[in-house]
C-alpha cells in the first residue's frame, strides 16, 4: 500500500466517520437543535476579516484531524502509519484544531468570534493535563506509545476493566477536547456559535467536517486505549473497531447531554480541583497494579 493509498484510506475513513457522527448527533438532538446545528441564527455584524488568519483556520483544523487519523489502527495491518510514538503524536497534532479555532476566531474580527477564540484556548488549558494523565495509565500498562502495541497488550483483558477511573477521565476530557455537550462553551449560543456563526459555504462545511472528525477520532482513540481496539471474536477486525467507536460516540454524546453545560471558568475549576487529582490517583493505582503483576504480561 503506497502513500497515496494510505492517504485515500485515511480520508475515506474520516469522511464516513464524520458523516456517522453527524447522524448520531442529529438523532440525539431531535426536537431541540443544539448550538452546533443552529449556529448563526442571531444577527452577526461582520467586520473586515483578516485575509491571512481567517481562511487558514478551518484548513488547520481539518489538517489536525487528518494528521491525527494517520495513527488510528482499524485492524492488525490496517493503520496509516504505525509510529513508535503514535499516541503522543496523536495528542500533539489534535491540538492544531484549537489553533485553527483561535486563528479563525481572531481573524473573523467580530466580538463573538474573538470571544470564542479566548474560550477555546481556556478550554485547552482545562483539558490538556487530565487528558494526558488518563492516557498515561494505558501507556504504562502497554509499555509502548504505539497504538497497535497498545491494542495488542489488551488481548487478554481490556484496560477499561483494569482502569475504570482512567476511562471515566478520558470520557470527560475527550468531551472537552471535541467541544460536545456539557463543554461547548466556544460554540455556545451566547456567542452565536463562535466561529461557526461567522463562516459560510465551504468554510462552514470544513468546520463541521473537522469538528465531527474530532469527535470520531477522540472516540476511536478511546476505543483503542480502553476497549481493546480491533480485537474481538467472530466479527472481522475493522468491524469491531467501528462498532466500539460508534458505541463510545453514542455514550459520550448521550451522557454529555445529561449534564448542564459548564462555563469555561467552571471547566477550569473542575479540571484543577477534580480531574487532575483523579488523574494522579489513576496513575498511582495503575502503578500499583503493575507492581502487583496484574495486567498484560511480557
Amino acid at each position: 500500500m503506497g502513500i497515496a493509498g494510505k492517504t485515500l484510506l485515511v480520508t475515506l475513513a474520516l469522511l464516513a466517520g464524520a458523516w456517522v457522527s453527524g447522524r448520531i448527533e442529529r438523532v440525539l438532538m431531535r426536537g431541540e437543535p443544539g448550538a452546533m446545528h443552529q449556529a448563526g441564527t442571531a444577527a452577526v455584524h461582520l467586520g473586515r476579516r483578516d485575509r491571512w488568519l481567517y481562511p487558514i483556520g478551518p484548513a488547520v483544523a481539518l489538517a489536525a484531524v487528518l494528521l491525527g487519523a494517520v495513527v488510528m489502527p482499524f485492524g492488525p495491518a490496517l493503520v496509516g502509519e504505525d509510529l513508535q510514538i503514535g499516541v503522543f503524536y496523536f495528542i500533539v497534532v489534535i491540538d492544531f484544531a484549537v489553533l485553527g479555532i483561535a486563528l479563525s476566531g481572531w481573524g473573523a474580527n467580530t466580538g463573538h468570534a474573538v470571544e470564542a477564540c479566548y474560550r477555546a484556548v481556556a478550554q485547552l488549558v482545562a483539558y490538556v493535563v487530565p487528558l494526558g494523565m488518563a492516557v498515561v495509565g494505558t501507556i504504562m500498562m502497554a509499555k509502548s506509545l504505539s497504538t497497535t502495541r497498545i491494542v495488542e497488550a489488551q488481548q487478554g483483558v481490556w484496560f477499561i476493566v483494569l482502569q475504570p477511573l482512567g476511562f471515566a477521565l478520558y470520557l470527560v476530557t475527550g468531551l472537552m477536547q471535541c467541544y460536545r455537550a456539557p463543554f461547548l462553551e466556544p460554540f455556545a449560543d451566547s456567542v452565536v456559535g463562535g466561529v461557526l456563526g461567522v463562516s459560510t459555504g465551504p468554510e462552514a462545511l470544513i468546520w463541521r467536517l473537522a469538528l465531527s472528525g474530532l469527535l470520531l477520532l477522540v472516540a476511536a482513540m478511546g476505543a483503542v486505549l480502553f476497549l481493546g481496539g480491533w480485537s474481538g471474536p467472530w466479527l472481522p477486525a475493522p468491524l469491531w473497531m467501528a462498532l466500539k467507536t460508534l458505541g463510545l460516540m453514542i455514550l459520550m454524546l448521550a451522557g454529555g447531554r445529561m449534564v448542564r453545560p459548564l462555563s469555561v471558568a467552571r471547566m477550569l475549576g473542575l479540571s484543577w480541583k477534580v480531574l487532575i487529582p483523579l488523574g494522579l490517583a489513576n496513575v498511582l493505582l495503575v502503578g500499583g497494579l503493575i507492581l502487583l503483576k496484574i495486567g498484560p504480561t511480557g
Binding site: G47, R48, D50, R51, W52, L53, L83, Q84, I85, F88, Y89, I91, V92, V93, D95, F96, V98, L99, A102, L103, W106, N109, Y118, V121, A122, L124, V125, V128, L145
Partner: protein, 298 residues
C-alpha cells in the same frame, strides 16, 4: 538523487522557510496576535527540522509546547496589552518600513470615533430609505463631534467615553494630543540599529558555517526508539535533576496561586478593593476614583 532524497530536501526547505519567515514576521508585524502566531510558526518549523534529524520525540515535544504554550501566552497578551490587534499602527503605514508593511497587510485601522457610529445606527434605523438625508445627518453629527472634541471638550458623555471604551477612547485622546503620542507604539528609534545588528550577526553565523571546512559528522545512525532512550535517561541518569525541576515548577505554581489569592489580613491594602466592591458604589463621574479614599471605603 532518488525520490526520497528529493522529498527530504523539499521538506527541509519548507521547514527552514517556515522557521525563518516566521521569525521575520514575528519581529516586524505590528499586530501582537500575529506576532505570536508567527513565533509559533517559526517554532513549528524548527520542530519539523528536528523530525528531519530523526529526533521525532523532540520535534513533537517542541510542537506540543509551542502550540499550547503560545496560544495561552497570546491570550494573556491580548488581555493585558493596549493594542493587541495593531490597529494603531495600521492607520499610519507611512511610519512603517516596507517589510513591516508587508507583514502588517490587512490589519484593520482604528474604527471611526464612537459618536459617528451611533449617528449611523440611529439614522439607519429610522431613515433607511432617505440616503441623502442620512449622509447629511451624518455630516452634521461629525461637525458636532469635532466641536465637542476640540473646542470645549466638555460634553459629559464624551468625557465618559474617553475612559470607558478602549479602542475609541484612544483615538480621541490621540486626536487631542495632536496624534504624536508614539510612546505606546511598536516603533522606536533604536529599531534600525537593532535590525542592522541582527543582520550582522546573521551574516557572521553564515560566514562561520561556510569558512569551517570539516564540519564534524557523526557516523552512527540515530536511535529509532528515541522515546525509550529519553525516558531511560530521564529516569536513571538525570533523575535528580528531572524530579528537582518538577518540584521547582510545583513551587512556582504554589507561589502564583498564593500571589493571586485575595489577602485575608484585615489591614492589608489589597483588601480594601473587594470590601469596597460589596457596598453600593457612588456614581462614577463625581470625584476621584474610589480606591484612593481609604478611610471611606475600608
Amino acid at each position: 538523487m532518488n525520490v526520497e532524497q528529493t522529498a527530504v530536501l523539499v521538506a527541509f526547505g519548507l521547514c527552514a522557510f517556515l522557521a525563518l519567515a516566521g521569525a521575520l514576521g514575528m519581529a516586524t508585524t505590528m499586530s501582537m496576535f500575529r506576532s505570536g502566531i508567527f513565533l509559533m510558526a517559526s517554532f513549528i518549523g524548527v520542530g519539523g527540522l528536528f523530525i528531519l534529524l530523526a529526533a521525532d520525540l523532540m520535534g513533537l515535544l517542541q510542537i506540543m509546547m509551542y502550540i499550547g504554550g503560545m496560544l495561552v501566552m497570546i491570550l494573556f497578551m491580548v488581555l493585558f496589552m493596549h493594542d493587541p490587534g495593531g490597529s494603531m499602527m495600521a492607520g499610519m503605514p507611512d511610519m512603517m518600513s516596507p517589510i513591516e508593511r508587508f507583514f502588517s497587510r490587512g490589519l484593520q485601522p482604528e474604527p471611526e470615533p464612537e459618536p459617528d457610529e451611533k449617528a449611523d445606527d440611529d439614522t439607519g434605523s429610522s431613515l433607511k430609505e432617505d440616503a441623502g438625508h442620512d449622509a447629511m445627518n451624518r455630516d452634521e453629527m461629525d461637525h458636532a463631534d469635532k466641536a465637542a472634541g476640540h473646542g470645549s471638550h466638555g460634553g459629559m458623555d464624551h468625557a465618559h467615553m474617553d475612559h470607558g471604551s478602549t479602542s475609541c477612547g484612544d483615538m480621541d485622546k490621540m486626536g487631542d494630543m495632536g496624534g504624536m503620542d508614539m510612546d505606546m507604539s511598536m516603533v522606536t528609534p533604536v529599531r534600525p540599529v537593532a535590525a542592522w545588528g541582527a543582520a550582522a550577526i546573521g551574516i557572521g553565523l553564515f560566514a562561520l558555517l561556510l569558512l569551517r571546512p570539516d564540519w564534524p559528522v557523526a557516523g552512527q545512525h540515530p536511535n529509532p526508539d528515541s522515546a525509550r532512550a529519553v525516558g531511560m535517561m530521564l529516569m536513571h541518569k538525570y533523575m535528580i535533576a528531572f524530579e528537582g525541576a518538577g518540584f521547582l515548577i510545583l513551587l512556582g505554581i504554589f507561589g502564583a496561586v498564593f500571589l493571586a489569592r485575595t489577602n485575608q489580613h484585615a489591614e492589608a491594602p489589597g483588601r480594601a478593593l473587594p470590601v469596597a466592591r460589596r457596598e453600593d458604589p457612588p456614581p462614577a463621574e463625581s470625584g476621584p476614583a474610589p480606591g484612593h479614599e481609604e478611610g471611606k471605603w475600608s
